[in-house]
């Protein structure tokens, strides 16, 4: 059974809780996924293509039914209280799918009908902030502008939870940076809770507080970005002269700690200090996905792999 990481447990009730959520398809199994997201935090949902990210989001939106497990959003069962839950939810997908002839103003009027808490002034302020012309027709807007329009529309009712499913996928790097920058500003200024699914890890580097990793339908880990960065390190040291040729070696560890440095020192007498370097999120993901190719017993336990390079 998958364990919910202790470092995510807080006193306040979580906005989103998944407990042992499974979904079976022919040739694919989303297997007992559990994690939670606390209010005011941004969680990156990452993993390679086919990991099950979109399936998981479809389950949250009740587009799919879980084969097993429960999903609780705002403390409510997401299926039994679907309308109530969705009133407090914002969603942006990979494509916005607004009518091509609609204007940003039309989108605002359309959304206002469904959300009792819709704030038109706030929506217009987002449009202004994101440089989306209110009277701009969707078919004449750039892809980046449509994505920003979708973000504005998803946040115009002050959702307690914003679910983003690969919103930056397909955007060129410059526009992507612009969209992520706009999102970062809003998250920073307003403390929104966000679940951000993406395979573009650089989007999350300065945005996410928590990272949940899926691969092949399995939860690899769900933990804070700080914890992840603290325990994944590259250690580089110089070997002493001897039977083997002198040179620099390095290992990547997912269980970094002072003891590990000492152990390396004992096992491989080094001529100099062991250099410790942080890994990028992309490097960490590569290690986690590689280690998680077999179904994990626990997300945390997958982090203990040590690889020589």
């Amino acid at each position: 059974m998958l364990r919910i990481p202790e470092d995510t447990v807080k006193v306040t009730p979580p906005l989103l809780t998944l407990e042992d959520v499974s979904r079976q398809f022919p040739g694919f199994l989303l297997d007992r996924v559990s994690f939670r997201l606390e209010p005011g935090y941004v969680m990156g949902l990452i993993g390679p293509n086919g990991a099950g990210k979109t399936t998981l989001i479809k389950l949250m939106l009740n587009l799919l039914r879980p084969s097993a497990g429960t999903i609780t959003i705002f403390g409510l069962d997401h299926r039994r209280h679907e309308v109530e839950v969705k009133k407090q939810l914002g969603y942006v997908g990979e494509r916005a799918h607004y009518p091509p002839e609609a204007t940003a103003e039309w989108v605002g009027r359309f959304m206002a009908q469904w959300f009792p808490t819709w704030d038109d002034a706030l929506y217009r302020s987002y449009l202004n902030r994101f440089a989306v012309p209110p009277r701009g027709v969707v078919r004449t807007l750039s892809k980046g502008q449509v994505t920003k329009l979708a973000l504005a529309a998803a946040m115009g009712h002050r959702p307690r939870l914003l679910i983003l499913d690969e919103p930056t996928s397909g955007l060129d790097p410059l526009v992507r940076r612009e969209v992520v920058g706009a999102l970062r500003e809003v998250v920073r200024d307003e403390g929104r809770s966000v679940l951000f699914s993406t395979h573009i890890l650089s989007d999350l580097e300065s945005l996410a507080d928590y990272i949940t990793v899926l691969a092949g339908g399995h939860l690899i880990t769900s933990e804070s970005m700080d914890t992840l960065a603290d325990r994944w390190k590259r250690l580089t040291y110089t070997c002493t002269p001897g039977p083997r040729p002198q040179g620099s070696s390095s290992v990547i560890t997912g269980d970094f700690g002072p003891d590990l440095v000492n152990n390396i020192g004992l096992a491989t007498p080094s001529t100099g200090p062991v250099e410790v370097a942080s890994l990028s999120l992309e490097e960490i993901l590569a290690q986690l996905v590689h280690a998680g190719s077999a179904p994990p017993e626990s997300g945390r336990e997958q982090g203990g792999r040590v690889e020589r390079q």
Partner: protein
């Protein structure tokens, strides 16, 4: 207001198709098939336009509305409203395709009198009624299948050669029919065909609305 808003969103998905001229082509074909001695085989021309129009509209509709499904389902909308809007929009699009042709037939009837459709069995009006009824029933079936099976599976299973062949067969039979009962009771014959199709359409709607909580859309993209 809310339902009309949803309806507008649904219909807008097919707006490009409606602008494509298929309804106008339908009207022209209806005029040709209503001529006393058409040079084009009337059943072939009329059926081709209507059936191809119907399939094109379904494709255009589902391409737009299918992709829009996640957006719609993210809204706090009772699922029954989504089903209602989809069925209303689909029927409206079929009317938009067949409507001009039917109006043209009515105009021909008004100009030439009932002699244009006598005998009624085998006439252009009877053939169009059968075509419209069959396509209405089939569109209802396809829409219910969309809710039941999802976009791609519904597409591949039900929009195939078999269903196309069924429509061709029925309309061909209608165009060559010399049934005395149909000719003697044209209004009753129309009521049976169109009423039966409408009833079937409503049953499809009722089925989809009542089963919606158990249905899933989009299972074809599992594992993404």
């Amino acid at each position: 207001m809310k339902l009309s808003s949803l309806l507008g969103l649904e219909v807008s998905a097919a707006r490009r198709f409606l602008r494509s001229g298929v309804p106008v082509l339908g009207a022209l074909t209806a005029a040709v098939t209503a001529l006393p001695d058409p040079r084009v085989p009337r059943e072939f021309a009329a059926v081709l336009v209507v059936v191809m129009g119907m399939y094109s509209s379904m494709v255009a509709h589902e391409d737009g509305a299918g992709g829009r499904w996640a957006l719609l389902r993210s809204l706090p909308v009772p699922p029954e409203d989504l089903v209602r809007a989809r069925f209303l929009a689909t029927a409206a699009m079929l009317l938009a395709v067949a409507g001009p042709g039917l109006l043209t037939l009515a105009a021909v009837g008004a100009v030439n009198g009932s002699s244009a459709f006598t005998p009624f069995a085998g006439s252009a009006a009877w053939m169009w009624a059968v075509t419209f009824g069959t396509t209405l029933a089939q569109v209802g079936y396809l829409t219910a299948a969309y809710f039941r099976l999802g976009y791609r599976r519904g597409y591949s299973l039900l929009r195939g050669v078999v269903t196309m062949g069924l429509v061709f067969h029925l309309t061909d039979q209608a165009s060559q029919s010399t049934s005395p009962w149909v000719s003697a009771h044209p209004i009753a014959a129309l009521a049976v065909v169109l009423g039966g199709a409408l009833l079937f359409y409503l049953l499809c709607y009722q089925y989809s609305a009542s089963h919606f909580p158990d249905l899933e859309i989009g299972t074809e993209v599992a594992g993404q």
